[in-house]
């Protein structure tokens, strides 16, 4: 890439980071209470909540990994990407109950909701915090790793320098303004992603001439060998509904993102950030439509790269994760500019989201579950320090330990579903759900999320392990709740569950 292009792209990215930093600093004055700092509780309208939820869900993995997977294995991944637009369904299922919790108690974290529903059961809170922290830290490390690689590939600077500049600034403004700054800067970053999405989708149609040309090019060639010696297998089945993956993968990649959208912390916590729950249907439209644009962008980039390879415009990719870069590099400067900004925006928004979530869990919910009391007047200060330490450690680990990032990266969407469904979905929708059931479901989820990494355990199935873990965790929660004595609901929980 020419020096001028690199400079223009870097300036654009720097302006975006500076604007995010400015929004974070401005938001500091609003983050005066624990509810505001940790949860942004009952503070925002549908546009801010909708855009920030979308930006939190559409991570750097979506913009880089999804086109890469579509390029590598065809359409199975589209089920995941398109299904995760299910914000309206998520709000229908749990929106009013999560928001109602903030009326019956002082709610600033998921742990607070857990306390109200399960009478401050410390074991439930600890198990839930462990699982969600694993998922959040994994996501955080992956975002930092992706954002750092993006910039250090553009200019020849050590990744640690790029990481400390970009994510150091992010850590600083997030620590200062908490969830308030996090949410507003995510909304801004979400808007960047949507603008980039619209333009790049138009570029896809302009370059390829539409889906029919892609199907004809990909279906007609059984394989392509480039001048770089890389071979790409194609063929008529490549762009059918399942792609080259077994059909069970499509089943998993439809159900887990769609139903699992309601189990993501970036969606759950935003439900009580909304000022008026009557705005949630509008929020569902905002987040659903904006996520649909970003989702379609990801699909179009995968299709675009396939078309360019199948028609011989570019060599087959040695690394499928380069699919989006290959397509925008073919389009020219403006496409590169928007794509790099969108990827960086996705990394920043998800990173700030998971930074606040994991530091709240580690500095507030987990200590309280372990019986460690922190003076409420010092809680914000403690969490601020904790967030800075966690941010710096995450940057260093992400840059210097690719093995650990890979390991943490396995704790993703499915891990979070297995940790939140027993507590929030079963717990807030079913009055018969009791502590014993939730403990059984969560304990299973903790063990079977960690066991595969420690022992190499695998279920006797071609399905991804997280799908099976989620299913069994939910089933255990239901069965154990039924065979153990019914618990009387406290007045707050009863009012919320009846709403």
């Amino acid at each position: 890439m020419s020096t001028t292009r690199v400079v223009v792209i870097l300036l654009f990215c720097a302006a975006m980071i500076a604007a995010s930093f400015g929004i974070g600093l401005w938001s500091k004055k609003k983050a005066t209470t624990a509810q505001a700092y940790f949860g942004g509780t009952a503070m925002f309208g549908p546009l801010a909540v909708g855009l920030s939820s979308m930006a939190g869900v559409a991570s750097a993995f979506a913009l880089v990994g999804v086109p890469g997977l579509i390029y590598a294995t065809g359409n199975a991944m589209t089920f995941w990407m398109l299904g995760s637009s299910a914000f309206a369904a998520s709000y229908i299922i749990l929106g009013k109950k999560m928001r109602a919790m903030a009326e019956v108690a002082d709610i600033s974290s998921l742990g607070d909701v857990c306390d109200v529903r399960f009478n401050k059961n410390r074991l439930i809170k600890a198990l839930m915090s462990i699982i969600i922290t694993l998922g959040c830290v994994g996501y955080l490390a992956a975002q930092i790793s992706a954002g750092t690689a993006l910039i250090s590939n553009l200019i020849n600077i050590p990744p640690i320098v790029a990481g400390l500049i970009i994510f150091g600034l992010l850590t600083a403004y997030t620590a200062l303004s908490g969830e308030v700054g996090g949410l507003l800067s995510q909304a801004f970053q979400g808007a960047i992603m949507v603008i980039a999405g619209v333009v790049l989708i138009i570029a896809f149609f302009a370059v390829t001439g539409g889906f029919g040309n892609v199907l004809n090019a990909v279906g007609a060639a059984s394989s392509v060998v480039g001048a770089n010696g890389v071979e790409k297998q194609l063929g008529p089945d490549f762009l059918n509904a399942w792609g080259t993956q077994p059909g069970g993968i499509s089943l998993t990649w439809m159900l887990i993102p769609l139903l699992g959208c309601v189990g993501q912390p970036q969606v759950l916590t935003r439900m009580y950030a909304v000022k008026n729950p009557l705005d949630l249907p509008k929020t569902g439209l905002v987040s659903g439509i904006t996520h649909a644009i970003v989702s379609f962008l990801c699909v179009a980039m995968g299709y675009g790269a396939l078309y360019l390879v199948a028609t011989g415009n570019i060599d087959p990719l040695a690394n499928s994760d380069d699919a989006i870069y290959a397509f925008v590099n073919h389009c020219g400067l403006w496409a590169q500019l928007l794509a790099y900004a969108a990827i960086l925006a996705a990394a920043l928004s998800s990173a700030s989201m998971f930074l606040t979530s994991s530091s709240t869990l580690l500095s507030k919910d987990l200590p309280s579950a372990l019986g460690i009391k922190i003076d409420p007047s010092k809680q914000i200060h403690v969490s601020r320090v904790f967030m800075i330490v966690l941010g710096i450690v995450s940057i260093v680990v992400s840059v210097f330990s690719s093995e650990l990032v890979g390991l943490l990266g396995t704790f993703g969407w499915g891990t979070l579903v297995s940790g939140t469904f027993p507590v929030f979905i079963v717990g807030l929708l079913w009055d018969r759900c009791n502590s014993a059931g939730v403990i059984a479901g969560l304990a299973y989820a903790v063990v079977f999320n960690i066991l595969p990494l420690v022992t190499g355990f695998a279920y006797p199935s071609a399905l991804p392990g997280y799908f099976i873990t989620c299913a069994i965790a939910v089933a255990l929660t239901v069965v154990v709740s039924l065979v153990t004595p019914k618990q009387k609901l406290n007045a707050a929980s009863k009012a919320v569950l009846d709403l």
Binding site: N240, L278, L463, C470, A471, I472, A475, L499
Partner: protein, 147 residues
């Protein structure tokens, strides 16, 4: 429809459907598994739409029944056309898309998403009205003061 007393059977069914889906996915019957995901997701939506244990008939018809039919049809068409054109170029396309993939875009994604999101917005009072929320806030205030 009053589901207040039916929540336990609904959750037993949800647990069963999760397990059946992983069994079907494991033994290769993924299209049936996909179709069974429709009641699995739909039961969550019914529970979420319920107000004081009651789901309005309007909501059950639109958006829920329409959404369920769209999803089931989309998955069946995906399976049918993927098998019909296995290993060969399809004899027709839908706006340029493979006939097994077009249902994913037009029915599962656009149709399903719009049905749920618009239905939720249009029938939002059936989910939570201002009156319901005001009454709840009064009750919540008493609960908080009671503490």
């Amino acid at each position: 429809m009053n589901i207040q007393t039916k929540k336990t059977p609904i959750f037993v069914l949800i647990a069963l459907l999760w397990i059946v889906c992983i069994v079907l996915g494991t033994i290769g019957h993924y299209v049936i598994g996909l179709v069974l995901c429709v009641p699995l997701i739909g039961l969550h939506l019914i529970l979420g739409f319920a107000k004081k244990g009651v789901v309005s008939k309007k909501v059950l018809i639109y958006p829920l029944a329409i959404w369920a039919v769209l999803y089931a049809v989309a998955f069946i068409l995906c399976g049918y056309y993927a098998d019909a054109f296995a290993g060969v170029m399809p004899s027709f396309t839908v706006f340029g898309l493979h006939p097994s993939f077009a249902p994913v875009i037009f029915i599962y994604w656009i149709g399903g998403l719009l049905t749920i999101a618009l239905g939720y917005y249009l029938l939002r009072d059936e989910w939570l009205s201002q009156k319901d929320w005001d009454e709840f806030c009064q009750e919540a205030k008493k609960i908080k003061e009671g503490k």
